[in-house]
């Protein structure tokens, strides 16, 4: 470039370089605007400072830009006057009582900002002992059921309570004055004060009679025990024989019985630990939850039931030298063995029967008397009130109604049109009754036929008391004010009796006078229970009418029948169908069949073959037509291993028509198929039962479709008691590898010659848990598969209900599931044969949840670190970081991860609990509601762990063992799940693991070395030892 000496000027001013220019030369915009007093420049012609202008401009632009974005509006209303005892974010717990018909439990209700969000068992109660069933766990959701009645109805139209009361009182008066009959139809009433209120009502209207019935009636049992229902104590039993009583699943008070039963099944591998177990025989038609847990199990047809009982009587009588009774003999496997064991453990034996036939129950009483069960395992001195229904009373009522002899009827939380076999007849008779009132919470099958609907409040909104067992009281207090304009029926009855309708006050007065003071009343309300421990001497019932009973049995039962018979059973999850509109329950799989959202016809494999119903593993099923005495229904069928041949079984609790969106037209109603024996409802039908395929295919929502464990010993491990007594490691699967030096057991250390260190070698540094190391132990020996933990987990962790179609698509969201495997007769090498269960298989339940692996396969594959390991041994899921590749779920060997395929909340297709403002009140605010496209799984209730740690920290101490309980462990009625800190030397889990590490403890599929933090304990069956023959064939000694 040329040498450039040219000069350039910015302007002529610079060239002239006048003093005026020099003065302003430093200012870029030469002709400076006017400045204010402070010397700040002003915008021309205004008083605005330039910098202010920029500020205003900036604010304006951003304000406009922000206003353009529509932020979602979340309504939250602060307390105008904060209630004294409500602290935002702090949960309040209230003791209360769950009552649904005769189902009872003392509960603790967790409320957040005034909303009940979870119920847990009240361990202070010596009756329910803190155990809750799946249905009780789910009950909190029914509180927020949007389809309940929102106020009183007259003729189906919303009406004012005052007007309804006026009309009802007038009508009652009219009926009473002309001497017309008034009936209060109810399920069992546990509340003594409610009975007192009914007494007041009867005093006012003397033609009133209380008719009590139970949908799952046991009135035959009550009749045979002299009008009472004795309390059973399985924990004292060494030999348990059940003939058709599903006492771990549905019979009378299953959670209570399960707890007692588990006490007799808990063993410990430590030296000196308990190595004794009760022996449990189950004789039944269907594979019940109880049968699945029995040591020995055999089937009979409903038409044989009475003869099975007499056969057992004779077997025992001949052993103890008593007189036998003459009746046709039936051949049932294990029956004689059961009799031998019962006699051997005389005084610690118990026989229960699920029959509703008083004749059969009379023989059962006679058996128990012979075995000395009364006074030990059966206590007739402290009877329970769970079932007070009388089939005869109900039958009489329906007959009277049909004859037009009833002037007024009040259905007190009873729905006989749906849940009584003669419901259809009653529905026809109802218009003949002048005054019909229903207090049911919804306009259900019965309620919608009544002139007046005066809806009762939910138990979480109510005041009440209960006497589940003589001398044991329990109290219900409201945990929220009534959501809808509902009123407790006790208040209604008081009002209609012309008394003060304040039931809370009435109840208080009764109890204050009985307890002798307000303080005592406050205390029992706080505790939820009052147990004055009425020690009444046990009285042994007289076995009267044994001969008549035997005659009746001979008449009603047949030893052999080739005919198809119908068995009607109750599902553990759905019960009688009173909570059918509860989405948690609809989606909770039944423990044995693993099916939900509907009922189906179950037949045994042999019967299916006979009817040429072929069912492929894991595929759609066929639709069948079941016709019983001319009444026909169509429903899908499944092969149920372990069911009696030539029987078909259908569950009650389904086929609701007026219960709400979740329940209506799901399944069919099986109540009308029940028959009558000796005046009582028999949950079976031995009439003309025809099952045939319609040619259509059908789908069943099942969470598990593969039934067998495919001889995979590292998945579930089990042994028999005698083997366990000899070697506490019996049944344990020890993975091994073949090396050049022979077969070696896989181990984490360089131990002896028989071991090879493969699991101790790792590319990873491993995790160090300096503070806590959370873990869990699940005892397969005491887990009954009852599914209480499943529902508890749902409620605690805001788990979405996805509906029938999505379960069929295999997409249920349950974090906690219970795997159920049947045994197979096939050879271990026969992969195809292993897919099919035995005719009468052994069953094993295995709760399965995130195993919180220390070498977690999910953690290494997540591209965005959305799932990571905590410093306390937990595998954590960060929902916000998840981009939804599902790689973690694919790589999870336990398949416990669940993906949000859709936005399950606020989407019309998934109209379950999270899709209306009311339903969302059940959401646990401590747990994020997951959005579409993210993975989720068990967090080991991290919110509870954090809360427990914080509580301890505030008190400057370490968390105490047991203080932090995860939802599943808390809810387990048999305490099969132990959760705790494995770093805490004094914790239950450490003690248990110390005892079992060299015993029953195993990790599922431990050979892949993912090192789970959850250990399982080997299941032990109290059976005769299996003998391994030379060929490796496993056969059982007869």
């Amino acid at each position: 470039m040329e040498n450039n000496t040219k000069r350039y000027w910015r302007g002529i001013e610079e060239l002239t370089n006048s003093p005026e220019f020099v003065k302003h030369a430093h200012r870029e915009f030469g002709d400076a605007p006017i400045a204010n007093e402070k010397g700040e420049a002003l915008i021309d012609g205004t008083n605005t400072v330039r910098r202010d202008f920029l500020k205003v401009l900036g604010f304006g632009v951003s304000a406009v830009a922000l206003a353009a974005c529509e932020a979602p509006i979340k309504k939250s209303i602060p307390y105008l006057n904060k209630p004294e005892d409500v602290e935002p974010t702090i949960a309040n717990w209230y003791a209360s009582t769950f009552i649904d018909g005769g189902d009872y439990a003392s509960v603790l209700v967790k409320t957040r900002e005034g909303r009940p969000i979870k119920v847990e068992g009240n361990k202070a109660s010596s009756v329910s002992k803190g155990a809750l069933s799946a249905r009780m766990q789910a009950s909190v959701l029914s509180l927020y059921d949007n389809e309940k009645l929102k106020g009183a109805l007259i003729g189906g139209k919303a009406a004012d309570w005052a007007i309804a009361d006026k009309e009802i009182i007038a009508a009652l008066g009219k009926v009473a004055t002309r001497g017309g009959q008034i009936r209060i139809v109810s399920n069992s009433i546990l509340s003594p004060t409610t009975k007192k209120v009914i007494g007041d009502f009867i005093a006012k209207y003397p033609t009133t009679k209380l008719v009590t019935y139970d949908a799952n009636s046991v009135s035959g049992l009550v009749q045979a025990n002299g009008g009472i229902l004795p309390s059973f104590d399985f924990s004292k039993a060494k030999t348990i024989v059940s003939i058709g009583a599903d006492f771990l699943g549905t019979w009378i008070s299953p959670t209570e019985f399960a707890g007692q039963w588990a006490k007799t099944r808990r063993v410990n591998s430590a030296e000196g630990g308990n190595k004794e177990m009760s022996r449990h025989y189950q004789f039944e038609t269907i594979m019940s939850n109880t049968g699945a847990n029995a040591d020995y199990r055999a089937t009979y047809k409903p038409s044989q039931e009475g003869l099975v009982v007499t056969a057992l009587y004779n077997a025992i009588a001949s052993k103890v030298g008593g007189a036998t009774i003459s009746s046709a003999s039936v051949k049932i496997a294990h029956l004689d063995k059961a009799a031998t064991d019962l006699v051997a453990t005389k005084g610690a034996s118990i026989v229960v029967s699920g029959s509703n036939d008083p004749a059969v129950q009379t023989v059962v009483v006679a058996i128990n008397v012979m075995l000395g069960a009364y006074g030990s395992t059966i206590d007739a001195g402290s009877p329970v009130n769970y079932r007070q229904g009388s089939d005869a009373e109900m039958t009489a009522f329906i007959n009277e109604a049909k004859a037009g002899q009833i002037g007024a009827v009040i259905f007190y939380n009873a729905n006989p049109v749906y849940n009584h076999p003669r419901g259809a007849e009653l529905a026809e008779a109802l218009p003949k009754i002048e005054l019909t009132i229903s207090t049911n919470d919804r306009a259900d099958e019965t309620g919608s036929l009544c002139k007046y609907n005066t809806p009762d409040s939910h138990y979480l909104e109510s005041w009440n008391d209960a006497e589940p067992k003589r001398g044991f009281y329990s109290f219900t207090q409201p945990t929220i004010s009534t959501i809808f304009k509902t009123r407790q029926t006790q208040s209604s009855l008081l009002t209609w009796s012309g008394l003060n309708g304040d039931y809370a006050n009435y109840l208080e007065n009764v109890w204050v006078s009985s307890l002798g003071g307000k303080t005592a009343w406050s205390k029992v309300l706080h505790d939820g229970i009052y147990e004055p421990a009425a020690g009444v001497a046990s009285n042994v019932p007289q076995t009267i009418g044994l001969a008549d009973a035997v005659a009746s049995i001979t008449k009603n039962y047949k030893a052999n029948s080739d005919k198809m018979e119908l068995a009607i059973y109750e599902k553990v999850t759905m019960g009688t169908g009173s909570q059918a509109n509860n989405p948690y329950l609809q989606e909770c799989p039944e423990p044995v069949s693993k099916a939900c959202w509907g009922n189906y016809a179950m037949v045994s494999l042999a019967t299916a073959k006979k009817l040429s119903l072929d069912q492929e593993v894991e595929l759609d099923t066929l639709e069948v037509e079941v016709s019983v005495n001319g009444k026909t229904v169509k429903l899908p069928f499944i092969v149920q291993p372990g069911q009696a041949n030539d029987t078909v079984a259908i569950a009650i609790g389904y086929g609701r028509t007026k219960a709400g969106k979740s329940a209506n037209n799901v399944g069919i109603n099986a109540y009308p198929f029940a028959s009558v024996i000796n005046g009582n409802i028999a949950f079976s039908n031995t009439g003309d039962v025809i099952v045939k395929a319609t040619g259509e295919t059908a789908k069943i929502a099942r969470t598990q479709t593969h039934n067998t464990v495919m001889a995979r010993q590292s998945v579930v491990q089990e042994t028999v008691l005698s083997a366990y007594k000899k070697n506490v490691e019996a049944g344990r699967f020890k993975p091994s590898v073949l090396t050049s030096e022979g077969k070696k057991e896989i181990s984490a250390e360089n131990g002896n010659k028989e071991q090879i260190n493969t699991t101790g070698v790792s590319l990873w540094n491993g995790h160090k848990y300096n503070n806590h190391a959370w873990g869990m132990v699940i005892d397969l020996n005491t887990c009954t598969g009852c599914a209480a933990c499943v529902v508890s987990c749902n409620a605690e962790n805001n788990i979405a209900v996805v509906g029938r179609q999505e379960v069929i698509n295999r997409r249920e969201m349950h974090w906690m599931r219970i795997d159920r495997y049947y045994s197979s007769d096939a050879d271990v090498e026969d992969a195809k044969g292993l897919e099919y269960a035995s005719e009468n298989p052994e069953v094993i339940f295995q709760p399965m949840l995130c195993q919180h692996c220390n070498n977690a396969p999910c953690e290494t594959v997540c591209p965005v670190l959305a799932t990571t390991h905590s410093t306390e041994g937990l595998n954590q899921m960060t929902y916000n970081r998840c981009i939804g590749t599902r790689y973690c779920a694919n790589n999870c060997p336990y398949k416990v991860r669940r993906f949000n395929w859709f936005r399950y909340y606020q989407t019309d297709e998934y109209d379950f609990q999270f899709n209306n403002d009311l339903g969302r009140m059940v959401i646990n605010p401590e747990v994020t509601v997951r959005s579409r496209g993210v993975m989720e799984k068990c967090s080991m209730c991290i919110q509870r762990i954090q809360a427990g740690k914080l509580e301890a920290k505030k008190e400057r101490r370490r968390p105490k063992d047991g203080e932090i309980q995860v939802a599943c462990a808390q809810s387990c009625p048999t305490d099969a799940i132990t959760f705790g800190d494995m770093n805490d030397e004094t914790s239950e889990i450490t003690k248990l693991l110390n005892a079992e590490r060299k015993g029953r403890a195993f990790g599922v599929i431990e050979e892949i070395n993912v090192k789970p933090n959850i250990s399982y304990l080997v299941k032990i069956r109290n059976k005769e030892e299996k003998v391994v023959k030379e060929e490796g064939e496993v056969k059982e000694h007869a």
């Binding site: 995979r712 997409r811 395929w901």
Partner: protein, 469 residues
Amino acid sequence: MSHVVSPIRETLVSGGKSYHDVTNDICKQVEGEPTKEWKIAFGVSCLVFAYGAFCLGYTWWQGIGVWGLNKTIGWAWDITNFVWWVGIGHAGTLISAVLLLFRQKWRTSINRSAEAMTIFAVLCAASFILAHMGRPWLFHWALPLPNTFGSLWVNFNSPLVWDVFAISTYLSVSLVFWYMGLVPDLATIRDRAQTKASKFWYGAFSLGWTGSAKTWARYEYVSLILAGISTPLVLSVHTIVSMDFATSVIPGWHTTIFPPYFVAGAIFSGFAMVQSLLLITRVVFKLEDYITIEHIEMMNIIITVTGSIVGIAYLTEFFIAWYSGVEYESYTFLNRATGPYWWAYWIMMTCNVVSPQLFWFKKIRTSILVSFVLSVVVNVGMWFERFVIIVSSLHRDYLPSSWAMFTPTMFDIGDYIFSFGLFFTLFFLFAKFLPVINMFEVKAVMKGVSTNYPFKKKASGEKEKETVH
């Protein structure tokens, strides 16, 4: 670059073409009005694309629950399609880079479209990476980008992150390689351009190519360097894709044989796809003289070789499953062949192992119709291979309680159709607006012009001339 063609070799370009003929034949398609065939084909692909886009849009709007996946089978058609497309995308680079390094002259007529196909196939594969995510709008979280979440980084242990790197590297290198190769030909079109628009666009994209000796020398260096960079990618991309499976714990996935097995399979399917496309292009654009029977035969031979490697890999898997004594792995393989998805397994075996063996017969491997049918069959088989690996391993893994079946929905199918729509739309656009055959390289492998006059089928006995271009 000097090209010496042995006198005993068949001519690679038949029909006695001159250099000018080559230019004319190839540029004709670009310069002329679109042909009727092209219009129909492009119209159909646009329709397919539109239908597929609707399905994909619906999937994104509703969530991937519209697919048939479930709690047990978290990947099915999505990742099957992804791996399938990535595999197809392997041929381009192999032909351009590896065959370039091995001086395989016959590749010159096919490398352009093979490379284009690679890029479009990788784009299709990428669409499934996005589509399979639960929250695709957050896909950038899989990239190690600086962020405001503190020191939050991606998980370098995850094969999916390796995948992101592998695919994006492969796409960018392939794109650059393809584009570099296009530059001299774009310049040719530019020089012949009649309209203002084509002058401008081809001018802009030919990057001021002058055709001077210096430019050519630089061009050759760049080609070699890019070929050098691409070559390891041929091996690495599918190796890394296979690690998505190989590093997992799922029986049927957890297999050390996967990297070579996947690479062989990728080349296998890639060549089959190139074969299918070329056989169509050849007819539609009347390029029989450039894509000769010898090309087709060569391709078929490679298909047979790679197909056999794949077949051996299948058998090795089976052997190892039995020999290892691992209960779960043994069952997985038994279940593949005899379980509910036996049909998928046997389709795979027939299409991939049996069908390429037919090419041992010269008559078959030189038959255009059979070659076309078998090339499609191979890709059907390769799709089923990925389906078998993914679905039949997942559907019955460790715990029998979770065993499940997978049934595709119309959106599984629709989203797969989308990728075909995308692929063919792009391919037909490419075929119309860019030279489908590498003109300057074809010219380089032609026998000396003098050998063509008078036209002789065989140039034997004549002295080979060096052609410098």
